[in-house]
């Protein structure tokens, strides 16, 4: 069911990855994403997968939980895979009517899919191991220089954390509404495209109403506790970089440097 989607959720255990400073983790993920787009050969992908595998193992987030996060992107994966495998020119391996599978196509398709999977797992590992609050704090600190030129960094960070926080809530709400309408005999599976699109109205309207209600309640609760934006706001637990963070960062830089070297050297 819809609540099985784990993308963007926090998985609460204690692990060395969970304890890392959020800024370090965000920077690492950015570097990892960049690295994924730099590598272009087999060794590179093995290295990237191994690095991520190590991080996942250390993070104590169960593999099953991570794999469930991939479920919603299966369609995109299959789509990119088939586009790539048929559309790229090269030495023809198989031929099926007008569809040609070439060696280059196969490579590109495989690399693209692996890249996508690693991308999703890598970024979701960040949200699995970092609470939304820490994530926002980290984001805010990283964006801090921009606030000097008038970018409302605190507000952006707050908006981000609120959206992250409410993904599971809205999922649950959707699940409930779908069931309630099914209980009233609603049918989402049959009929043509227009009938199906129409059948979404009984879900979307209550969902939007709920979203607005939740937003109003939240705004009220924030105001009741005197929230007035980022000005003069201090932190209860300031972020401090410790030696563990430095080691983690150093490992990441090393990995990043290795991928660049690999690309240039080849």
């Amino acid at each position: 069911m819809i609540r099985d989607i784990t993308l963007g959720q926090y998985y609460s255990v204690d692990s060395p990855i969970h304890r890392r400073d959020p800024r370090i983790k965000i920077l690492s993920v950015v570097m990892y994403i960049a690295a994924l787009f730099i590598v272009e050969n087999f060794i590179g992908f093995v290295m990237a997968a191994a690095a991520l595998g190590l991080a996942v193992a250390v993070s104590k987030v169960p593999i099953g939980f991570i794999m469930r996060g991939l479920k919603p992107i299966i369609f995109i994966l299959i789509f990119t895979f088939s586009i790539n495998i048929f559309m790229i020119n090269g030495r023809v391996l198989w031929k099926l009517g007008f569809l040609e599978v070439t060696d280059n196509g196969l490579y590109t398709a495989a690399f693209m899919s692996v890249r996508l999977i690693l991308l999703i797992i890598g970024t979701s590992l960040l949200t699995f191991t970092t609470t939304p609050i820490k994530l926002t704090d980290g984001m805010e600190r990283l964006l801090y220089p921009l606030s000097k030129i008038g970018v409302p960094t605190h507000e952006i960070a707050m908006m981000m954390s609120i959206s992250l926080r409410f993904i599971p809530t809205l999922m649950e709400e959707t699940d409930k509404i779908i069931k309630a309408q099914q209980a009233r005999g609603a049918d989402f599976e049959s009929g043509n495209l227009i009938a199906r699109a129409k059948s979404l109205v009984p879900i979307l309207v209550p969902l939007f109403v709920s979203a607005f209600r939740i937003a109003l309640d939240l705004a009220m609760a924030m105001e009741a506790r005197c929230y007035s934006g980022g000005k003069n706001r201090t932190r209860m637990n300031g972020m401090k970089i410790n030696s563990g963070d430095l080691i983690f960062m150093a490992a990441n830089i090393l990995f990043f440097a290795a991928t660049i070297t690999l690309r240039i050297w080849r």
């Binding site: 069931k179 099914q182 009233r184 209550p206």
Partner: protein
């Protein structure tokens, strides 16, 4: 019309760390025309059980037989089940979506494939049953109504499908005393007029005691007691052990008894408590 549930079990998050037995080997029978109250602590599996009864959740194992048909079997028409078993969720007003009250109530009957005229007459009937004036409110937006009115419109949306089994999950949660009473009266009314099976989940022991013919008590996925309200609420200690209690009046009788007065603790409502106390005082007066 009857419901038989046999060896019903359901596990959430199977195979994961968060695996949880939501229902554990549930067995019970509900007979024609009964009003059944289900009580249990939050997370005891009440809602999961209800959703099994109209096929929203598939059973992991066990059978649910409604009117002689096993709905856990393959190839059973869900539409047919949902026509027979109407489920009113918690806070049903959050499922309202149409432009007008009348259209919203018509959503269910329309999905059953009824004729235009039949839908119209059912909408009128259902709204009348929940005491919402069709002519005044029928063409208004449901979002303009008060909380209690919205709740009644949402319940009308299920009643209009004329289910043979009407299930209500905490229908009075979050309502003010007036609206609370309205909903209870409405449930009684519907039961009298349609003579269907009613299954009611509530945290209000007084309501359960006054409405039900039969009470089922759930605890951590298990059905631990089934009986008449009298039987169930005579076991106060057992109920307290699973964080439930008896109706306030009954609680009072128990406490009076604990202070050393030999008094009958069976009354579940004010009227019968009054009789017991009156008779007790009368006896003392006569002996004086």
């Amino acid at each position: 019309m009857s419901i038989q549930v046999r060896n019903l079990s359901h596990v959430y998050n199977k195979g994961l760390a968060a695996e949880q037995k939501a229902l554990d080997n549930i067995n019970f029978d509900i007979y024609d025309g009964e009003v059944v109250g289900i009580i249990g602590h939050t997370g005891s599996g009440k809602s999961t059980l209800l959703q099994h009864l109209n096929g929203l959740i598939k059973a992991d194992c066990g059978n649910i037989i409604i009117d002689g048909k096993d709905i856990t079997k393959q190839g059973i028409s869900m539409r047919d089940i949902r026509r027979r078993v109407g489920l009113v969720f918690q806070y049903p007003e959050y499922q309202l979506f149409e432009e007008t009250v009348a259209k919203d109530v018509a959503f269910g009957p329309k999905n059953l494939g009824l004729s235009e005229a039949e839908v119209e007459s059912r909408v009128r009937e259902a709204l009348e049953m929940v005491r919402i004036d069709y002519d005044e409110y029928g063409q208004r937006s449901p979002f303009e109504l008060s909380g209690g009115q919205k709740r009644r419109v949402a319940i009308a949306g299920v009643i209009a499908m004329k289910p043979q089994v009407l299930i209500l999950d905490e229908p009075t949660a979050g309502l003010d005393p007036g609206a609370h009473k309205d909903i209870l009266n409405l449930i009684k009314d519907v039961h009298e007029r349609q003579n269907n099976i009613i299954i009611l989940v509530s945290h209000n022991m007084e309501d359960v005691a006054n409405l039900s013919d039969k009470v089922m008590v759930m605890d951590r996925g298990k059905l631990i007691m089934v009986g008449t309200p009298q039987e169930i609420f005579s076991r106060r200690d057992r109920l307290e052990a699973i964080a439930l209690n008896v109706p306030p009046v009954t609680e009072m009788m128990y406490e009076v008894k604990e202070r050393g007065i030999e008094i009958d603790t069976s009354p579940l409502n004010i009227k019968s408590a009054e009789d017991v106390i009156y008779n007790y005082l009368k006896r003392i007066e006569m002996n004086r």
